[in-house]
Symmetry: C2
Subunit: 267 residues, 2 copies
Amino acid sequence: MINTNFDKGIVVIGAGNVATHLSMALNSNKFNITCVYSRTEDAAKLLADKVDANHTNKLEEIPTNAGLYIISVKDEVKAEIVSKLEIDKGIVVHTAGSVGLDIFEDSFSKYGVFYPLQTFTKQRAIDFSVIPICVEASSLEVENKLLQLARCLSKSVHKVSSEERKILHLSAVFACNFANHMYSLATNILEGSNFSFDMLKPLIEETAKKAIDCDPIHAQTGPAVRNDQNVIKKHLDLLKDNNEYDKIYRFVSESIYNLKKKKSNNG
Amino acid sequence: MINTNFDKGIVVIGAGNVATHLSMALNSNKFNITCVYSRTEDAAKLLADKVDANHTNKLEEIPTNAGLYIISVKDEVKAEIVSKLEIDKGIVVHTAGSVGLDIFEDSFSKYGVFYPLQTFTKQRAIDFSVIPICVEASSLEVENKLLQLARCLSKSVHKVSSEERKILHLSAVFACNFANHMYSLATNILEGSNFSFDMLKPLIEETAKKAIDCDPIHAQTGPAVRNDQNVIKKHLDLLKDNNEYDKIYRFVSESIYNLKKKKSNNG
């Protein structure tokens, strides 16, 4: 047993992408998950079986004496769970980027946030040891326990306030969801052509690598940053029957050029 | 000497990102680059020295008897070069995504396009062997010579018409420049916080890997695809003083959700 802080076991509430990956990382680091709850029994069982835990789809069957409760459910059901969950003395945390610590203050005495900054998909294996984990807690005692737990899972552990976490989450939406959507739009543009998304894979890989190695602002290439109106006009002509793509093309191109001008003016 | 097609040598016109990487790939595959031209003498010399070639900044000093002329300059100077370049019998190609083959038809008898689908930055080493090279030519004879050349440099060689190439280039702008801009905006959002772009690196890497392994539409996560208005409102509140970011956030989020609905309706 690596960690004795939570020797009364850990309860995982939720069986989605984050709950699944976090549970598996805990399990492979020898933490004892005693119970997985999900409103959908099949989902609860699927995850529970992976981490050798019991499962339930009834809130009242969740053990009350666990050391840690990890709530990893959609925001709209979080409030209901917080109001109905009955526990003895354990710590309660949530894993969300944009939900404050204060959601727990009227319901529990020891609580915190345990936010892994990553995009999770159940079916994909992931290296948890490089994922930044953002920790916030109701007291120094709880903070220390959560930091210790986080450091068992990852080399990148950070104390992050609710306000800071919101900013991080917002920037992650741009870097992950919005970047990924640009891949999706690129895929759709190729629909009906002789080419598949495969053609773009070396480009996507290099774009990400370059941003990581240099920095994305410095790494920018293409017609918008060169303000190459000749190419931009040709592209807008190709998009003239698609208002949504046209708008995104214009706004993002303008934004690329604005950022370049701003950075040039600043030195 | 791997290739005897161009035993009279290759002239590279331009010394920017594409010209540099393509020249270096040719040089390391034992092609003989005889001359590098750039309007900026220093840039011409810098690249020429890398590939053991002569250099010039005068169009009239370009050798007329080379086997291949690769024009890799900004679109706005391409027309001038095409009108002034004097050659005997060599093949002339350009390397641009959005410029037609027809730019050459009034000036040369043998011509083509040699478009590597990648984002190039001079200072970064790159594996040319995985880069899709798109070839188009004025005749079957020229096409065969260009395909043979391309296959010496890359395992991914494609015959692509001017119309198809425009579509590919447009989709590459989304997948590369626009995705990269989302990283840039994410970086800017973090400015003034305690966190640097480093926090986002594992996320950016995984987002790209996931899109490559699965497909980006299937891989999407985050508030927009879940239509999580609660989180979206919090994010828009953080962006309320920045009209540009607010607009991009709204449009891209709407577009993510629209795409999801469209794909669900299609089964």
